[in-house]
């Protein structure tokens, strides 16, 4: 049992997952499954973005789907109406995510908790309305067709499912890698302090606005990049991409997998995507299950699959360590460099 547990948290698991992802197209001869997997990866990238601002930084951003749509539309408009190639348009989409994210962030992040959530809900809706009504720019409710696929420079053809799958996988790995760096770093800890409380973070000398805007911009760049990839594979988009339902879907993925955890966004997205696939007939009514599931999760398992597991394991380890500590009459586990004058302090105290 312990060995299994250790395996589940060791880096081995992540490598195993990666190997599995790499060989997936080779063992699956169903092209549709590969396609589903690739789109799930795209959503997972966006969910990683949401995890940065909502999971680590604690700000519920309900405009996330809107930023996804912005990325998709930038690629669509540039490649269709301005005949750009995909890759320059992809970079432009990331930049657009950053710029809009910065502008929205600077205004919205001054707002606390509920105000921020409501404000971003409205921002998401404004994005949706603009995409639908601004026909000169966005083609209105008709949407945009014939979006350019990512060009493979004569080496690969990304209109084929398998090469596209690997392209998306590469982006996913990049995304997870960056978040893993971030979450372990001082910067990640800074975000977490903000999640606990604005007041606490400030009392620790953390500049709230600067850090929140940074987290927000990172998240919108993730969302916009995912949207851009999505446009490149689907090659047809409409205002519905900005529907708030997509944001709610992403919240579900995040919560199921584990909010504020590293592997949560990926596992949650994959689990729900395949669950939905299996219950195909349910597609339209999936929310009859997912709605109550969200409620049950936040009440009973607020940390999702990964978070729940980590807490359980961490506690076991901590208890075991304490027991050992008591048995051996010494403090093990904590490698505390002792303070030079600690003894003196104690002596002073008793005096």
């Amino acid at each position: 049992m312990d060995r299994l547990m250790n395996f589940l948290v060791s880096p081995v698991l992540k490598w195993a997952l990666l190997v599995l992802a790499v060989v997936f197209p080779l063992i699956s001869d169903n092209e549709y499954h590969i396609y589903v997997m690739a789109t799930a990866f795209i959503w997972a990238i966006a969910v990683y973005g949401m995890n940065i601002i909502t999971g680590y930084c604690g700000q519920l951003n309900l405009a996330h789907g809107g930023f996804f749509a912005i990325g998709a539309y930038v690629v669509a408009i540039l490649t269709v109406d301005h005949e750009w190639a995909f890759w320059p348009a992809f970079i432009a989409a990331g930049l657009a995510g950053a710029i809009f994210g910065f502008l929205v962030g600077v205004v919205s992040l001054r707002l606390k908790e509920h105000y921020f959530a409501i404000f971003t809900l409205c921002v998401g809706f404004i994005i949706y309305l603009l995409l639908e009504k601004w026909e000169e720019l966005t083609h209105g409710s008709l949407g945009i067709i014939n979006i350019a696929p990512p060009e493979g420079f004569g080496l690969v053809d990304f209109t084929e499912t398998v090469p596209f799958y690997y392209l998306v996988l590469a982006f996913l790995v990049l995304s997870v890698w960056l978040v893993s760096r971030l979450s372990r770093s001082l910067l990640g800890r800074t975000f977490l302090a903000i999640r606990i409380s604005d007041d606490l973070a400030q009392s620790l000398g953390i500049n709230l606005m600067r850090n929140k805007v940074l987290a927000f911009v990172l998240s919108t760049v993730y969302a916009a990049s995912a949207g851009a990839l999505y446009a490149g594979v689907v090659r047809f988009i409409g205002p519905a991409e900005a529907d708030v339902v997509h944001t709610f879907d992403m919240i579900t993925y995040l919560l199921v997998g584990g909010i504020g955890t590293l592997m949560g966004p990926l596992l949650g997205t994959l689990a729900i995507t395949w669950l939905t696939q299996m219950l195909q007939s349910l597609e339209e009514y999936r929310m009859i299950i997912f709605g109550p599931m969200l409620v049950i999760l936040v009440i009973f398992f607020p940390r999702g699959i990964v978070g729940g597991f980590l807490t359980w394991r961490g506690r076991r380890l901590a208890n075991k360590a304490s027991q050992q500590g008591q048995d051996g009459k010494s403090q093990t586990t904590v490698n505390t460099p002792s303070t030079p004058n600690a003894d003196k302090q104690e002596a002073g105290n008793n005096a």
Binding site: L178, R181, L182, S185, L186, L187, G188, R189, T190, L192, A193, R195, I196, S197, D199, L200, A201, Q202, S203, L204, G205, I206, N207, L208, L214, L218, R303, G307, L310, T311, G314, R315, L317, A318, A321, S322, G325, Q331, T333, V334, N335, T336, P337, S338, T339, A342, Q345, G348, N349
Partner: protein
């Protein structure tokens, strides 16, 4: 250390803190007491920069910090704890403390991306500082435990440690002994004395009178937002105005 002149904070027409002037000398325990709703917490919030004063001036080590953002004040060496301890339940004690030293570091997003030497050094520094302060508050043996699993008194100590990790010179403690038993209160008082012994100036709000009387070097009494007395515990104990204020409210002096 801390010099406050004519400090006033009004909410609408109501003055929560009214024209308070006081000086808190360095290297001792300064206490602020008063009945419920006397404006003690507001006073703290003003000093820590959590809200701007309506009028008046706050000087810290001769520097005017009036209206300064709380994070800047923290970087100048003013740390604080809160009435309710805010910690991250789902991680360990030690993990909670590492961020405390963040304000003395420089790493940015780029350092994270390239995993720069600066970042690695600073993380090492934060980690060892966390271990040090944990040791200081006498909790090194529970560094690996989850916050959710430790006692109320231990949480208070972790909150102290977090404040200490910022390398402060002045620490503001908001009801440090709230919600813990008398014996633990005594231990916490010892810890506060230890902080002063290490060159830290302490300012605290507290309801537990016997703790204050034995701990404080200087006491300021607030009532209805105004300073009604200041002095040594001995002076305060015998001040008729203070007794009047306490009897007038439901607070028990000997509580």
């Amino acid at each position: 250390m801390l010099k406050i002149s004519n400090l006033t904070k009004r909410f609408g027409g109501l003055a929560a803190v009214n024209n308070v002037s006081v000086e808190f000398p360095a290297n001792q325990v300064n206490a602020i007491i008063g009945p419920n709703g006397a404006g003690k917490s507001t006073f703290f919030n003003l000093v820590a920069g959590a809200m701007p004063p309506s009028e008046g001036k706050i000087e810290y080590q001769g520097m005017d910090i009036t209206g300064m953002a709380p994070d800047r004040i923290a970087r100048l060496g003013v740390a604080r704890t809160f009435q309710t301890t805010m910690l991250f339940d789902q991680s360990t004690v030690l993990d909670n403390l590492i961020v405390g030293h963040r304000l003395r570091t420089q790493s940015r997003l780029w350092d994270v991306i390239i995993n720069s030497k600066r970042l690695r050094d600073e993380e090492k520094k934060c980690r060892s500082r966390a271990a040090e302060v944990l040791d200081f508050v006498g909790l090194s043996h529970i560094g690996h435990r989850y916050i959710a699993d430790i006692s109320q008194e231990e949480r208070k100590r972790v909150a102290f440690a977090l404040a200490m990790a910022t390398d402060p010179e002045l620490v503001l403690l908001d009801e440090p002994a709230g919600g813990i038993n008398p014996e633990e209160t005594e231990n916490l008082a010892d810890l506060i004395r230890k902080m002063v012994k290490h060159g830290i100036t302490v300012c605290l709000i507290e309801h537990k009178m016997d703790m204050i009387m034995s701990l404080a070097d200087k006491i300021m009494v607030l009532d209805h937002g105004e300073k009604i007395a200041e002095g040594t515990p001995e002076q305060i104990k015998n001040d008729p105005v203070v007794i009047e204020a306490y009897l007038g409210s439901e607070q028990d002096v000997e509580a």
